[in-house]
Amino acid sequence: MARPQPRFPEPDTQPFYDATKEHRLTYQQCNSCKNVVFYPRAHCTACGSRDLAWKDSKGVGTVYTYSVVRLNRHPAFAPLGPYAVAYVDLDEGFRILTNIVGVNDPLTDVKIGQRVKVQWEDQESGIALPMFAPA
């Protein structure tokens, strides 16, 4: 069974997921006050301006925190075995919820402060999910 997928129409996150089809990790920055906005929205969370620019991230960041999930009854995750859920701080100044992949054993190989780089997981729906592996 597939992972839960983002659902549309949902205009705030539509441009973000459109960009994932080209494996571009995008975020927004306010043209008025330069605040970095993430997750995507139509307004700046610092000043309320609706004048936001979409930017491409280099996809490199640091693990802020994580947990290794041992038990999830959802059928998409139950067969995975232990997997790491994490918040990653991208170098451009935004924090994303994601999974840490590309490690032998998530129980020992994921660390707070670890440098990681985006790794895309293509989905049947055509979008891709940004996950992160050790840089």
Binding site: Q5, P6, F8, T13, S67, V68, R70, Y87, D89
Partner: protein
């Protein structure tokens, strides 16, 4: 303490005794508890003129709850902010009473989460209900269970401050010691098939199954059925009630959510706590009783710090001093009913924090702290890492 306002007091309380209650509905539990809390106060069904509800029994409950109960309240408040809803309700009831809009406010809660077999903590990442939301769209693909949400805070707390699993475990150990003294909690653990219903050790917690690193099974609350009711009344009504009033002397409300560059080890309590303590004119160190939402051990650790019982990051050292037990010479005693960890957690525990705090200040707890005069009830609603609410209520004995 001389300048405290004493406009409103908890005058009636009732906790539904069962944690496994097949065949009843949340609405039935609410109405049953309402009648018994009013009887505890010496008040009647027709005295209620303000209704507070967290939408746990029925949708659009500002309409449906008065109709089901048979009330015609002048004040209706359906603030639904998860497990802290009842601290918000107590705060709002106090305001409504102080302003003269109401005299007798009723808060009720009912849940059949256990009998419904809801996998609250380990379900997850799921979606599909309701309209799509931007936050759901960014989170749901990654399988973050509710427990993992809290576990991420625990990991960061350990990284930032050197907190250990043993520090967290001490919270579960103290809480269980209180549960063992509470017959309803012992029955709860029995009915919910706990492996053991006696006292536990730090090693028991650390040796229990890891659910989401670094949280073990015994760091997590139960999923029970249950409910309760609280009656809050004006000072003039309170004087004629059956039991001594428990005064609401301070309240605070706040939200906290994940932000770019934010500190996940800080909760909404860091905002709601100072407001409530400031209004009450008391310091955390004066508090005899801390009823703090223990969905998980880390929840308590973070909130003890944020409420100001100790400095940020020093929760590990603070809980290691044996101070949390009911019979400790140190303040405060924590979750003396057995908490969500070992007595009662049907999904939204906030009402039980008010109930046990009131019992302590009346002298009615099964783990009574001698001479308890001041208590805090701090509720947490939502998800600690993603977004949550905090509601702080400071209570004083008559």
């Amino acid at each position: 303490m001389a300048a405290q306002k004493r406009d409103a007091a908890i005058v009636g309380i009732y906790e539904y005794p069962l944690r496994k209650a097949p065949g009843v509905t949340p609405l039935q539990i609410k109405a049953d508890c309402a009648a018994k809390a009013l009887a505890d106060a010496g008040l009647s069904w027709k005295d209620v003129d303000a209704v507070y509800d967290a939408q746990d029994g029925a949708g659009m409950s500002g309409l449906s709850l008065p109709e089901y109960f048979g009330f015609k309240p002048n004040v209706i408040d359906t603030t639904a902010v998860g497990g802290s809803s009842y601290e918000f309700h107590a705060s709002h009831a106090r305001r409504a009473i102080a302003s003269g809009k109401a005299k007798v406010a009723l808060l009720t809660y009912g849940s059949t989460a256990h009998s419904d077999s809801r996998a609250i903590g380990t379900g997850g990442g799921g979606m599909g209900a309701g309209a799509p939301s931007p936050l759901d769209n960014m989170q749901s693909p990654y399988g973050m269970t509710l427990i993992a949400n809290y576990a991420m805070v625990a990991h960061r707390h350990m990284h930032q401050y050197g907190t250990t699993g043993a520090d967290l475990a001490r919270i579960a150990v103290a809480t269980r010691a209180h549960a063992v003294r509470n017959p309803e909690a012992v029955q709860a653990m029995t009915d919910l098939l706990y492996v053991g219903t006696g006292e536990i050790t730090v090693d028991d917690v650390l040796g229990s199954r890891m659910v989401a690193d670094p949280l073990h099974l015994l760091d997590c609350c139960m999923v029970s059925d249950g409910g309760g009711a609280v009656v809050i009344a004006s000072a003039d009504v309170a004087r004629d009630c059956k039991k001594k009033p428990v005064w609401i002397i301070g309240s605070g409300e706040a939200t906290k959510y994940s932000e770019n560059g934010g500190d996940l080890t800080v909760s909404a309590a860091a905002q709601s706590g100072p407001v409530a303590f400031g209004e009450a004119g008391v310091k955390p160190s004066e508090l005899d009783i801390a009823m703090i939402y223990d969905s998980f051990t880390i929840t308590v650790m973070v909130m003890l710090e944020d409420l100001g019982f100790c400095k940020k990051g020093e929760g590990g050292a603070f809980v290691s001093e044996q101070r949390l037990r009911w019979d400790s010479p140190l303040k405060p005693a924590l979750n003396t009913d057995g908490g969500g960890l070992s007595s009662n957690h049907p999904g939204m525990r906030g009402i039980f924090l008010l109930l046990e705090a009131a019992r302590q200040l009346r002298g009615e707890s099964t783990s009574q702290r001698a001479g308890a005069k001041l208590a805090v009830a701090h509720g947490n609603g939502g998800m600690l890492a993603t977004s949550h609410t905090g509601g702080t209520i400071i209570l004083a004995a008559d």
